[in-house]
Symmetry: C2
Subunit: 466 residues, 2 copies
């Protein structure tokens, strides 16, 4: 996009990161020019892979002086295009900041660099009997830094919350190159504005998070899982709020509708989980805790709360293998439906009692505009992922007809009291819908905040808003 990086600047970059960690070959530029969002590619001029906070600071000082756009990149698993370098310039990868610095068993905290893979962090703390709950579907490959940028969730969020609920303190390199810690390693903090929470979900536009301190909780000793088939999609979505109203807080409460279920079942070669033609949707319900008897009572209580609904036979996962099989069908839904042509994963979220209205509305929209639609997701939070399939349209971004469909969908979401992203962020692809939810005053405050942090607009420019 017309950015010029002089040879002199490239030499400075090389001095900072070393010869092996500055990439300018076409293959690398292409690799770092996209993420998991859509079939979009924007080439940067150069990719830098610094190893330390100080290197990142040095790079940002230069880019701020020279007004060179910098797109921070974690694992590139994002679904809103946040890591796509639309303005060219530098892609700054945090993949080498991959050390878990300290698991503090005395204080139930972990300090980690942000290029660590989420599941690697989860496994490391689990070995000490500790739990870091946020678990996006991509947890096997995504980075902690990306999770912070998008305020990621996942199935466990319904009981345990999102990234924002675990972050205590962040080391951040500001776009001007200055390094700050945003908070303190404490559980309660009323010491000035909450810069920690402001960074979470700011999608790499306010600073590059290089270290994070998270609180941890004791790992629950037991969990139980059941799968409930519903004969109507509306029934399944209505049942979600009935479970909470009955006084239960499942550790996961996921919905998958039949179309997604069948596609994924074929895709993973499922033989364990019953999928028959009378079913319209499944709920996967998990409870966890330390006392198996109490969990059994919860399972019975939830089953009782579901009696008024038109359900099939409840399937209780008996052992780890069955549990894994069941989770596989939920976790791999996104991948499976993508393979068969569903291309856009939207991230709608509504108050949970509005789920039936949302799901009915999106199905009607599909009929009206002649597209296929599947949905699945974190029904317990009211956060449903919608995927659209319309022949000839591999992308929605930049496509007027798809955009008008999505505009209708998001208007419905907002009418129902919801918003257009629950956990994926706005990034590139959702930003033109932002004013369906935010008003110009909110947007003007956000722009003002951006300017305070990034006066030259060098850091992830063109994301969230222009």
């Amino acid at each position: 996009m017309g950015v010029t990086i002089t040879l002199e600047v490239l030499e400075q970059f090389t001095k900072i990161v070393g010869d092996n960690y500055i990439l300018t070959d076409n293959e690398s530029l292409a690799q770092y020019g996209k993420d998991e969002t859509e079939r979009l590619l924007y080439l940067p001029q150069v990719v830098l892979r610094p190893a330390t906070t100080e290197e990142i600071s040095a790079i940002l000082r230069i880019c701020n002086d020279q007004k060179i756009p910098v797109t921070p990149r974690a694992a590139g698993t994002g679904l809103s295009g946040g890591a796509i370098p639309t303005h060219g310039g530098v892609v700054l990868s945090i993949d080498r900041l991959n050390k878990i610095i300290d698991i503090d068993e005395k204080n139930l905290q972990v300090t980690t660099e942000t290029g660590v893979i989420t599941e690697v962090l989860q496994d490391a703390v689990k070995e000490k009997g500790l739990f870091y709950p946020p678990d996006p579907s991509s947890k096997g490959s995504c980075f902690i830094g990306g999770n912070i940028a998008e305020n990621s969730g996942g199935p466990k969020a319904v009981k345990y919350g999102k990234v924002k609920d675990y972050v205590l303190n962040l080391e951040v390199v500001l776009p001007t190159g200055e390094i700050i810690w945003t908070g303190a390693n404490v559980l309660k903090n009323s010491t000035g504005y909450n810069l920690t929470q402001l960074m979470v979900g700011s999608e790499g536009t306010l600073g590059i998070v290089t270290k994070a301190v998270f609180k941890l909780i004791p790992y629950p000793k037991h969990d139980m899982l059941m799968l409930v088939p519903f004969h109507s999609l509306e029934g399944a979505s209505a049942a979600v709020s009935a479970i909470f109203r009955a006084g239960f807080t499942p550790s996961c409460l996921e919905l998958t509708e039949i179309d997604a279920l069948k596609i994924t079942s074929d895709f993973v070669g499922n033989t364990t989980v019953p999928v028959d033609d009378t079913i319209a949707a499944h709920l996967i319900i998990e409870v966890d805790g330390n006392d198996p008897e109490a969990l059994m009572k919860d399972m019975e209580g939830i089953a009782t709360a579901l009696e008024p609904f038109d359900i099939g036979e409840i399937f209780f996962a008996e052992d780890t293998t069955q549990k894994e099989e069941l989770w596989k069908i939920r976790r791999r839904a996104a991948e499976a439906v993508k393979v068969v042509g569903y291309t856009i994963e939207e991230d709608t979220v509504v108050p949970r009692a509005e789920l039936p209205a949302l799901i009915n509305g999106m199905k009607e929209l599909g009929k009206k505009h002649d597209f296929k639609v599947v949905c699945y997701g974190h029904a317990g939070d009211g956060n449903i992922h919608v995927r659209i399939n319309k022949e000839g349209f591999p992308n929605s971004y930049g496509h007027p007809e798809m955009e008008s469909i999505l505009t209708e969908l998001f208007k419905l979401v907002v009418e129902l009291g919801g918003t257009i992203s629950g956990e994926h962020g706005i990034g590139l692809t959702q930003k033109e819908y932002l004013l369906l939810k935010l008003d110009p005053i909110q947007l003007s405050l956000m722009r003002g905040i951006k300017k305070v942090f990034d006066p030259n607009n060098i850091l992830n420019p063109g994301k969230i808003f222009d």
Copy 2:
């Protein structure tokens, strides 16, 4: 402080709020010129008691035009001087915004005006089987709006979190008079910067919060309470982190040291709770949940985790009366020690395993500078309230010797990885200590944010920072 409010402006205010809700008599000005912090009094020119968001908006438009300082006031129970009108001008009381608008049992949410008393809100949702946990000691008189401004906690925070963990969406009147909602009534939101979290804990300096939407949780059906006497204060504080490391998350874990205990015990006429001379401190430990048998196991497990410590006989509260008696001694500690001359409640917070170092450090400081010190508070969070008693010094604010003692205390807190306020805020009295914890870059970001929201610096000027 030299602010002139013209007769014409007073007439405009009168038109907005009506004759009965504009106060200029000396008695009212004195009443609204102080809060619960210290013996400080700053008179405003006028007190306004608007009834609606729109009235507040109209008032702020005028004040912004005329550059008249506005100090927002909830119930005036704050402990850092946030509601004291140091710059004169207008005190804007939200006490007439006292309606609970909607308890949404389908979505487990409540929408309320912010002049509602915290306990009134808690009782109203409890009637529907729902739980709003944040419970500052002043819950019987403080307002939801003040709790949002300070990001209040309380005993339940150790398991259930603070105000920030329940806020979904806020209606805010900006200093310029514009009205926004900060978020959406949903459990997950990654739609632009988190203005909701930025407002929480901003101490009335960024906007006046007029309505709040909180998530609620099912009210736990049972709780059990025990009191554990320790023969050393260090043992009591060390035991706190042992309980969590053993895998338990109590719903309250409070510490009261013997001096505070004796004073409070006398003050409330306690006969139930054993207080003998061999005791150095008590821990109050509560667990809650839906299954009494599971709770009993937790109590036994916690007792086992405490065996290595030098403790007296554990006292299990048998019934509601005993529980209330026990809580009374904890909850009224602040009031009791204030009556006998302890004047300053500090709000230190450290990683919980550092509690012994903090408590030892503050006792040593007391010896060194010849002052009495008591401590009590939310040990489970590492959040300990410290009160100092030094003859002849009723206040710390503006008193060089007391300030030098507090500087030493806060330096220790920061060295231990903690911060100077866990739940009371910085307000007026703590602001000169802010740079012990924050660096100038953080402060400059905060000032920049303040300027975005409040370009004329009319709203609660001189609070948090100058």
